[in-house]
Amino acid sequence: MILRNIAIRHSRKALAEPLSIPFIRSLTTETLAQETAAIENSINNHEKETHSIEANINQLRITSSFVPPTAASEPSSEVSDNFNLFRSIKKRTKKLGSVVAPYYKPHEFVVNPPRPKDLTLELLLASQAHLGHATSLWNPSNQRYIYGIRQGVHIISLEAIAAHLRRAAKVVEGVAYHGGIILFVGTRPGQAPAVVRAAQLSKGYHLFDSWKPGAITNAEQILAKCRIKALDKDDQEIGVYERKLQEWRALKPDLVVVMNPLENYTLLHECGLNNIPTIGVIDTNADPTWVTYPIPANDDSLRSIQLIAGILGRAGEEGQRLRLEAAKTGVVTWQTPEALVRLLAPEKNKLEGAAKNEATIYSDGNPEWNKNDRSSRRRATGLDDDSEDL
C-alpha cells in the first residue's frame, strides 16, 4: 500500500524505466523519432490520469500523514545483504549435486606433469608415444624398439619406451642431485611450453628457438659476454667472485635433453666432441647412436613430448630436492674443479678472515670454501646454456 502511494506521489514517469532507444538513433531515424513522440504522449496521458487519481487519494488521512522515506535517512546495506545471502546460499548448497569424475585435462600435462612413478603403459599409449613413422622412413637401428607394423606405420614397443624413459629419468635425477647443469632443448613449434616447464622444475636451462652452432665448441667467442655467477651449496649467490669469474671460461652443460634430435644434429655433435652426455627422443626415423641415452618414442606428437619432458622435469625436480636436503645436513654433492679452486684462492683467503663461521658450517671436514661454489653462466638472451668446467 505504502509502495503504491510512493508511485502515485512521484508520478509514473519517475518510476518508469528509461527509454531503451538510443538517443542518437531517435534523432537520426525519422520513424523512431515518431515512435518516441508517441511513447512520450502516452506517458503524458498516464501522468494526467495519475494526477486525477492522486487528487482523490490525497484526501485520505493516511496519505496526508505519510512521509516518503529518503535515501539519506536509511543506511543502504543492500550490497552487503546480497553478498551475505549469496555466501549463505553457497555454503548451504555446496554439498549438493553430483561430483564430476576425474577427466582428461590436456593442460595438466604442462602445468602439473606426471612424476616418474606415475609412468604407466596406459599413459604412454594415451599420449601416442608408440606411433612411429611410415615404414618406408625407418632407420633399421631402431629395430630393437619396434613392436610391429600397423596401418602403415611402425609401432614402438610400450615396454621399451617405459624402460628407456625411466632410465633417462634416473640420469636426469642423478645429474640434478650432483649439481649439474641440465639443458632442455625442443625446437619444434609447440614444444616450448613443455621444455620451459621442464627446465623450471629441474632448475635447468631451456632452448626452444634454435641452437647457435658452436655454442659449446666455440663458446669462448659466442658466449663471451655472458655472466657467470657463483652459488653456495644452498643455491645462494656469492657476490665476491664476480671479477675473478669474468676471466673464467664459458660453461658447458652437464646433460643435454633433446626432444627432436633430427633438427639438432649440430648440438648433439658438439656434445659428443665435449663428452657431454645427451638424452634424446628417438623416433623410428632417427639414429639412436646420436644420443647417449635414447628414449624411443614419437617425437611429432605434442602430447608425447609434453609427457616425456614433464617426467624428466619432475625427475630433475626430485634430484634438486634431494641435493638441497643433503646440503641442509651439510653434505655437498659436487666437487669444484681444481683449476677453479686455484683461481679463486686469493678471494677465499680474504673471505675467511672476514667470516670464520662460514667454514665451520660444513660438517664434511673440508674447510675448503671453494668446493662449495657452483658456478654458472647465463646469457642475456633467451638462450641459456651453461656448463661446468671439466
Binding site: Y104, K105, P106, L121, E122, L125, Q128, H130, L131, G132, H133, A134, S136, L137, Y147, R150, Q151, G152, V153, I155, S157, L158, E159, G190, N298, D300, S301, L302, R303
Partner: protein, 480 residues
Amino acid sequence: MASRSTSPGGVLLRASRLFAIPPTLPRPLPNLSSNQSFGSDTATLPHPVNLSITSPQASLARGDWGLKRPLPLRSTTKTSTPVIRVDAIDTYEQVTDYASAADHTLTLRKWEEMDIHLSTPPRKSRSSLGFVDAGGRGQRSVFDDKIDSTTQSHTGEQGQDARWRFDGPWVAGLTDGQFGTYVTRQVRKRKPEFIKMLRMTCAEAATKENQRTAMEQGEEVGQPVRASEITEEQFSKYMKTLRHDRVELYRHIRKFLDLPPAPNPLLPGGNDWLSSVLDGTRESPTDIKDVQPTSDSPYADSGPPKTHPSAGLSYGRTSAHTFNHPVYGPQSKKPPVKARVVMPKGAAPGNFAPLLGVGGFVVDVPSGENSFNLRSSGSRSTGNAIPGLVNIEPDKVGGSKAYVHPKSASVDPKGRVILKVEQADPEAVAVLEGRVDEIPRQEIMQTKGLLARLQHTRSPRGYGLSVGDFGGESETANKP
C-alpha cells in the same frame, strides 16, 4: 615370440582405439553402363569407405586427434563439422593424410532425423496374383530373426537360404569373364574334393535304396553303405543319373560351393501371359512349379549384400510409431521431409525421369501419386504436379522443393541406399508449416470416416487425427 604375444603393452595396443580403426574399403566402382557418366573425385561416395573420427573439445583446440601428430588448427577448428577421415597416419612426406568426413556424418545425422528403418530389397513385380507373394515375402526388416543370420541353420533345405552371407559368389551377378575366372581359379582345383563328396552322397543314396527295398519286403534293415564300399561301376552309374537330374546336381553343387540362391524365375510374357491364362484363351504352357519362387531368401533377386543389410544406418526393426505433435497430439503421419528437385524431367540425355534429393540421397519420384504424376499433368494444363519437376524454375531461390514422406529403404549389393518416398500428406505439411487454418474442415470430415462419425457426438479436434480430443480449444476458430 610367445612372450611378445602376451606382453602387457601388446594387450593394450590391441585394445586401443587407433587399432580399432578398420582398414579402408575399396572405393565403389561407377556404374558400368553406356550412359555418359561424369566422374568426380570430390563427389560424395555412395557409401563411406573410412571411419569418421572426432575429438573432444579440449583436445580439438590443441589439434590433438590421437594420431601421429597434431593436425592443423585452421582446417579442423574453423568448421561446424569437426569430423575427419584418416587416409594414412603417416606418409613418406611425413604428413598425416586426412580429409573432412562431414559428408557421410551429416548424411547419417539426417537419416536418423528422417527415422526410417532398413528393410529387405523389394521384390521384382511379377504379377498381380496373390500366389506368387503368398508366403508373406514382402519387405521385411533386415533384423528379422529368420533372415538375420550368417551361419547355416540345421532346420532343413529351406533354412539354408535364411542367411545373407555365403562363401561362393552370386553367379547371376557375375559377368562372363568373372565367371570363367571363378571356375578356373577356384572351382577347378576342388574337383577331387567334389568327387569325394559325391561318393558320400552316392553311398547315402544306396543306403536309402537298401532301406526302402528292405522295408518293402519286410526284411531287417541292413548296415548303412559306406563310401569306401562304393564300386567304380556304381559310382559312374550314379554320376550318369545325376547328369540327367539337373535339379539334384545343382543342389549338390550349391551345397558344395556354398552359392547364394539363384534369382526366382520370371513369368514368361509378363501380364499378357497372365491375362491370357485367366481368360482361358491360352493353355498354360509351363508348369506352375516353374514359376514358383525357388528360394525363400529376400536377397535371391538382388544378390546377397556385402555387409550387414542394415549398413549400420538404422538399428530399428520398424519405424511404425506415431509422431506426437506438441499442440495437436498424435498424428497419423510423421512430419514430411523437404525434398529437392535434383533433376527435372528430361534434363539429362537418356534419362527422362525426374530425380529428387531427400536427406542426401537421390531418389526416384514416387509412382502413382497425384503431385508427381507427370503424364496427367501434361494433358491437364495446371494439374497437381509440382512445377519444378517438369521445368527448371530459375527464379526460385535454392531450387524447387517438394514435401515427401520417406516410405522404405534398403541397401543394394553394391552398397547403395535405395530410398522410396511417397507424396506428402497435405495435412501433415500444413501442420509442419503452421498453416492449420488453411485446412478445409469439410474435406477432413469426409476423408476421415471416424472423425465424421464422431462429429455428431463430440466436437472434432486436432489435425491429422483418427481420434479427436487431443487438440486445443481452437474449434471455433478453425471452423470454416
